[in-house]
Symmetry: C2
Subunit: 237 residues, 2 copies
DNA sequence: GCTTGTAATATTGTATACATTATCCATTAT
DNA sequence: ATAATGGATAATGTATACAATATTACAAGC
């Protein structure tokens, strides 16, 4: 059951079924870029790397296909889905609509405790931005948005945004490296939080829309930069 | 490979891999209500009914779990996800946000040919509504929305809305039975189409928002009626 | 030199076998 | 009579075997 060879390694500590661990391992490898876009996923090879049989690997690949992270060609195998600029644009549009909805609902439903957590997370985000602590920036930014999604009270919305966000994460690591100053985002976050606190759903929605729109534009600019980077040609752009 | 027993039957005519046919067969059975909410899905039984082995059945169930149509409990089996009133409410909220986005984008991107198809589909919808032709009402309504999604130019948005819509379809058959007069929807559709034709994205978005909101309310009313219907207790409400 | 055909290899698709665990029913003890 | 316990049964989780198809390499012909 354990990994005996190089490559992906499983976290056996949890008590989940093996297939879930395998699924999350492969998924994480794709999102972090360990498995690169366009790369072929061969069942036997992945199974050997993780020290399991083909069965859980197959199930994982099929599920990843449904999620869009993997593309399958019948009888030919599975590939990590390459993302085009257009794909990212489509996901940004959808994400904006969903984030707007989340803010709108959060403004109607957020508890005092959640408001408190928002202020707290944004304070930490500001510290990370000042210190240029990339890991902290990403984590605290995700925290802020997570709290908003949960405050919306819509569990399915939370799951859908998270799926989208994780797929975009494949670009995001690259993105944060190239951006210099993230401190303006602290004010954007603060504005959103205030609207939510006051229950001004329409204004919260508008603030989020602007926030996503500006960061989305940044991201696309980075994408074009990546496109012209010789070392990143494996990304199908 | 063929069905030798009672129950689900496969459509062998296509050249797709068996697993895709199995997936779609089970998925369709859940959406149409042939497999009822809360019902247990036993791999051996489903496999025997369709005349295939457990492997493609397992893969299908795992994928359906990811989509939310099936709920799995480790070591205990899989069940058709029961839908609560709250689940439907969550999906309605998300669908409204996505439909608004689709209309907004369609207003910016629709071709003349697509506008023409919209008018045509709405004319047919009106005929079905007048004749109280339930199948026609559903089909033409879906056509109208489909054309809008495609006109948006966002493929991922199309896929997401369709997935949501098909899940809500589980209620929809019930819904249409109980509604008397669908003709007011013809005007609502017409208004949306006109805004799209004129490229008025904000107005198109608003019109769709209102349209979804009103039909959503209807649907929730039906749900409460279903809830009080003794024959429908298998729906976990 | 390039294309085409064919055999060898590798990979996917499906089926089945085995191990583990949950469920159910009967028996027994309180 | 009821509750608890134990075994039989059945289901899931995983691994492996086999068949069908795709890929590759190499050789023969143009």
């Amino acid at each position: 059951m354990l990994d005996e060879k190089k490559g992906l390694t499983l976290d056996i500590s949890s008590c989940k079924p093996l297939r879930e661990i395998v699924f999350e391992t492969i998924r994480c490898a794709i999102i972090t870029g360990e498995l690169q876009p366009g790369q072929r996923l061969m069942e036997v090879r992945l199974a050997e790397e993780m020290g399991v049989s083909r069965t859980p690997v197959r199930e994982s690949i099929r599920k990843l296909e449904l999620e869009g992270l993997v593309k399958m060609v019948p009888r030919r195998g599975a590939y990590v889905t390459p993302m085009s600029v257009n794909d990212l644009k489509e996901m940004m549009e959808i994400r904006r609509a969903l984030e707007e909805l989340a803010a709108e609902l959060a403004a109607m439903n957020a508890t005092e405790e959640e408001i408190e957590k928002l202020y707290d997370a944004n304070r930490r985000f500001g510290e990370s931005a000042l210190a240029n602590d990339e890991a902290g920036i990403i984590k605290n930014d995700m925290d802020i948005h997570d709290i908003i999604y949960e405050a919306s009270g819509n569990k399915k919305l939370l799951a859908m945004i998270n799926s989208l966000r994780e797929q975009m994460q494949r670009f995001r690591a690259e993105y944060v490296h190239r951006i210099e100053d993230k401190t303006p985002l602290v004010d954007q976050h603060m504005e959103i939080i205030k609207k939510i606190e006051n229950g001004e759903s329409a204004l919260a929605k508008a603030a989020v829309s602007e926030h996503i729109h500006s960061t989305g534009d940044d991201m696309l600019q980075v994408l074009y930069a990546v496109k012209n980077d010789k070392n990143k040609n494996e990304w199908a752009l």
